[in-house]
Amino acid sequence: MVEELLKLQNIYKNFGNVKVLKDVNIKINKGEVVALIGDNGAGKSTLIKVITGVHSPNSGKVFFKEKEVQIKSVAQSRKMGIEAVYQERALCDQQELYRNIFAGREITNSFGFLDIKKQRKEAEKILRDYIGFTSKAITVDSQVMGLSGGEKQGVAFGRSLYFNSDLIVLDEPTMGLSIQETEKVLNFVKGLKNENKSAIFIDHNIIHVYGAADRFIILDRGEVVGEFNKEDISREELVQKMIQLHESGKIKVED
């Protein structure tokens, strides 16, 4: 039984005169991992920023759990159950881990003062239970600066799991990671399905994408130019499609 989680309908987004998204229609079901692929400038990042509330679309409709919504801010999308993992780009280097985990949704009393004790305790739990950090060198009081790319990624994932989101948005989750760390990240993505969570992710590496995703959506210059289920296309065919798109600017759609 397929249950729809997120649907974008006729989304347009301009930055000044530049049309970055043109009539984009996509759908993500519960428990499904969807990969967004396309060249630089295809509009992938803009599209996920529309989903996470960083940008508002100029026109078009967004449905979440079959209800029409307008996502106006990151705080709102988080509240609905959409969590973004922007790799280390969404962590602040000079601040402590426990502050990073709760940045933008601090645990506070009614005067807005932080409950440091609780934040540290919960952060401790996230490090141990969700991320599995065992290294003594990393504590909740560590600055993010000293972490490796994979560890930062782990913190970002841990954060998304802790807040119990339905849809996890991953922007280039394997960029700059070592092979082992990449493996961990991809396993994490696959693991999401078991918990009936959905994910949408961007990655330049087709091999990574192919292994982890159920469905592929190809964007080109702001438009959806192709959509394939994994069972309908082999990895080689997908690579061929991308090369074809790169060379001719078109995808040949066979019936």
Partner: protein, 325 residues
């Protein structure tokens, strides 16, 4: 000893410890070089009297500097708000509440203008606040026509004069008590309030802060607004101390105030800072002039040694930072 050096507290408070050591060494030099001055109370009373005027602004400016921004307009905000305070006090026969509320509201408005220019118009803060620096000072000159305002008749001997600047137990200037209380309060906000937390994240990395759901523009605007408020407050303290408004009021504040923030260890690159450090910075910068003269050096050395202090301090902090990275 080794244990102590490696303790968590020491590791996380390197800046605060360095600046405290510098201050202690400096006061030791004063003490040994001019014992006839520094073993007696009057010099400390003089410090407690004069430091809060720029100290209050320095504490508040630490928030703006932590954002990676700067405000150069506060000397003129002190000027315009003091002028308004003087005008209202004299024209209402000493109605403290109206004068206080209007002067601090004007200060916050001036801060709001800075904040909007920086966030909504997108002018770099160093440029925007040079503009408002001239604007508010110009307005002071236009309104006051170059003359001062005496508030001695409406302020001297009142309860507000008492709570702002008179001596507690005949010894401790009230402005110093206020300065300590405000420093404590602002330290609390800086480290343990949501707003202080957001200041750190925005100053650290604006784009990341945005993606984490922090409203970057609002945080910046509020930071400028609170600096406007505390500039007005510092102006009011000065008015009570002097019982007089003069059109250049506030003009000497810029360099000492910002020097105190930077000597105190707050990073000019944003994201990291310390209110305690700024407090010690105020003690250092605020004591240099008297200290140098008391040591028997001529007054010509004051700026020179001031410059040396600032340059050495920021170099040390930059090196500490670089080693970390």
């Amino acid at each position: 000893m080794n244990n102590l050096l490696n303790s968590y507290f020491v590791k996380t408070h390197k800046l605060e410890i360095s600046i405290t050591i510098i201050a202690v060494v400096l006061f030791l030099i004063y003490f040994l070089g001019a014992p006839h001055v520094f073993t007696r109370f009057p010099i400390y009373r003089a410090f407690m009297q004069s430091m809060p005027f720029f100290g209050i602004i320095a504490i508040s400016a630490t928030f703006v500097v932590t954002l990676g921004e700067i405000d150069l307009s506060f000397p003129s905000i002190v000027g315009i708000t003091s002028l308004i305070f003087g005008i209202i006090m004299t024209s209402t026969d000493g109605n403290f509440f109206i004068a206080f509320i209007l002067a601090t509201s004007l200060g916050m408005f001036a801060g709001l203008v800075n904040g909007l220019l920086v966030t909504k118009i997108g002018i770099p803060s160093i440029v925007a606040t040079i503009g408002t620096l001239f604007f508010w000072r110009g307005l002071v000159n236009v309104i006051s026509q170059g003359s001062g305002i005496a508030i001695v008749d409406v302020a001297d001997g009142t309860w507000h004069h008492m709570i702002f600047v008179e001596k507690l137990f005949g010894k401790i200037p009230m402005q110093f008590i206020w300065f300590i209380v405000l420093t404590g309060l602002m330290q609390w906000v800086y480290r343990y309030h949501k707003f202080g937390n957001h200041i750190h994240f925005v100053g650290d990395n604006k784009a990341s802060a945005q993606m984490m759901g922090i409203n970057v523009d609002n945080v910046k605007i509020i930071a400028f607004v609170q600096l406007g408020f505390f500039s007005a407050l510092a102006g009011i303290f000065t008015m009570y101390e002097m019982l007089y408004f003069w059109p250049t009021q506030g003009e000497g504040l810029m360099l000492t105030t910002l020097a105190a923030v930077f000597v105190g260890g707050t990073s000019v690159f944003g994201g990291k800072g310390t209110i305690f450090g700024t407090f010690i910075g105020v003690l250092i910068i605020g004591s240099l002039e008297s200290g140098i003269v008391a040591l028997g050096l001529s007054g010509f050395y004051v700026k020179f040694i001031n410059g040396l202090m600032i340059t050495v301090a920021v170099t040390v902090y930059a090196l500490i930072q670089r080693r970390k990275n």
